[in-house]
């Protein structure tokens, strides 16, 4: 009896269910199509083109479709490339260490020493004010400060602290690192600030209740819980420094090299396939670094 009753109901439901199924099967693809298109056209396609071109042949005037590995053997076989890569990694390491240190303490100050949310927002916006001008302008404005007759040197000479202007302030690796730290510290402050703000304040009291001193709270509670923010900031800073060419060029006065600067020079000599091979190597290196960071710190909690 019940079977007989149910059967027509199923029969009636079946066609409409099938119709709904086909529509619902397409829906997710339709929904993801816009983003897939954008990423495909502006990210995937260019990368594929770079990879393809990196195997091409070239001379002083043109590129020839081919499948050669000489571009890669040139990149990896030359001592100059290795030195440039090492130099870039050195910049990345120094800038990372400095931005992490400064960024953490700025974020710490904002998160724990500023009591009102309004003041926190105001100070945070103050941090972002330099970003209202372009990278280049912020970089170039260091020149009158650091130059031979710049603010610092003239002050020091006037005070009689140094007999003649200090040469290494500008057009040196010091200047490159200084400018990069200045440019990229905020990329460290923001994610760390974000993680610090999410820490439950009662954890600090619980730690104090357990007898932790101020430094012990910092080391055992704050820093472990800030790790995801530090990892995100590290990814920002490392990828930005690894890809930087303008800061290195301007602030070192052409005396220092970076991978991106090397690629720029290759491109200006129309050696596109060589630059492409370089780009692929750099991309792999940076992706490996990011993978390493993600292995050490679980940032999924933050996303």
């Amino acid at each position: 009896m019940t079977v007989a009753l149910e059967r027509p109901a199923i029969a009636a439901a079946a066609p409409s269910k099938r119709g709904r199924l086909s529509l619902s099967a397409v829906t997710p693809y339709l929904q993801s199509a816009p983003l897939a298109l954008i990423l495909g056209a502006f990210l995937l396609l260019p990368i594929i083109m770079i990879v393809v071109v990196s195997f091409w042949d070239y001379d002083f005037a043109a590129m020839y479709p081919d499948f050669l590995t000489t571009n890669y053997s040139d990149v990896l076989g030359s001592w100059v490339t290795w030195k440039t890569y090492l130099n870039t990694i050195k910049f990345a390491a120094i800038v990372w260490a400095l931005t992490l240190f400064i960024g953490f303490w700025v974020a710490y100050f904002l998160a724990f020493h500023i009591r009102t949310t309004a003041m926190q927002m105001v100070l945070f916006l103050v941090c972002t004010v330099p970003f209202l001008t372009s990278n280049i302008i912020r970089m170039i404005s260091w020149i009158p400060v650091l130059g031979r007759n710049g603010l610092i040197n003239s002050t020091l000479v006037h005070m009689g602290l140094v007999p003649k202007p200090i040469e290494w302030l500008l057009y040196s690796e010091f200047a490159v690192v200084l400018a990069m730290v200045h440019l990229y510290t905020l990329f460290m402050v923001t994610p760390i600030f974000n993680t610090l703000m999410r820490i439950d304040r009662s954890l600090f009291e619980a730690a104090r209740d357990a007898g932790a001193s101020g430094w012990q709270v910092l080391w055992n509670v704050v820093i472990p819980l800030a790790k995801p923010g530090m990892a995100i900031g590290t990814i920002f800073v490392v990828t930005l420094v690894m890809a930087d060419f303008s800061t290195v060029q301007v602030m070192s006065g052409g005396q220092s090299a970076s991978v991106a600067l090397m690629m720029k020079n290759q491109m200006s000599l129309l050696q596109y396939p060589a630059a492409a091979a370089n780009a692929v190597v750099l991309l792999v290196l940076v992706l490996l670094m990011v993978a390493g960071i993600l292995r050490i710190v679980d940032i999924r909690r933050e996303l």
Binding site: D200, S202, L203, E205, A206, A207, R208, D209, A210, G211, A212, S213, Q216, N220, V221, P224, L225
Partner: protein, 362 residues
Amino acid sequence: MSKAAEIDIVSVSKVYGMTTAVEAISLKIPAGTYCCLLGPSGCGKTSTLRMIAGHESISSGDVRLGNTVVTDLPPAKRGTAMMFQSYALFPHLDLIDNVAFSLKMKGVDKERRRAKALDMLKLMQMEAYATRRPAQLSGGQQQRVALARALITDPEALLLDEPLSALDPFLKIRMRAELKKLQTSLGITFVHVTHSQEEAMALADLIVVMNDGRIEQAAPPRDVFERPATAFVARFMGDHNVISGRVTGARDGMVVFDVNGGGSLAACGQGQEAGASIEIAIRTDHVRIGESPSPGLGFTGIVSNIEYRGATVKLSVAGAGIDDFTVIVDDSDFFAKPVAIGDAVPLAWDSEDAIVLGRLHS
């Protein structure tokens, strides 16, 4: 493990800028007592607890634990341990490291502190979860871990800040029983902050009812319920009718007073000056339907609402200047002689059930 300490609070105040959260309270909690600080939110009970714990500075007054004045000591040096409202377990550490945290801060080596933490987790029957993170636990399990973490320091007093408020009602009752059992077996002093009078009555040896930064009454649960000291206590504990009026005189060792705009009632109590205002409390379940044998111990009112509650029936009665007088009668008594809404019923109570309420001296 059991070395309970007496907690002595001597005219302790807490002032935040212009507002006074706790106003010169004095309280003695005997060693090994389960004490509940009870009151509505903002009454200063949590501030009091945090001052005992050392997480809040004491504006004036002293706190003594055992024989030491701990007023200016940091939390870990007081011999107290605190369990936080949201448990405040460290999300980045597994249960063993959470429990062993205070030992790590003391510099106990890894082997020993992990072994001791595991023992503590065993005591709480949580050893099976030892390598999990707090986020993987239920509320009740988190509470056990928080207890283990608090108890590993061998405290003389355990301070609990609304420990049951994050649990669902069923779990609340179960964890309540566990807390009581734990306190009995450890024998240490527990100070438990709650806004639930039911919780306080179920757990406490000593209930401290607080309001507006002051202690309204500190007494065993039965005293607090049967002889509420003030109108606030009577109202907060519930199941009492509070009636206010003006004293007109005395008769047969009873105070006679007029309800504002209504009849005249009497209550047991010390003779007060005529014209003084007075408040009395009458247990809702000690009122019966019927004529009062002696004048002043009852009135006649109109039934405005009837609620059936199973074992009892709740009547709301208005009359003699009293707007809302609650009567709880046994279901068998009620259905033997039922009344309806709108009926005029005589109500009566015994002289010892009318309690004159005091006032805090300000």
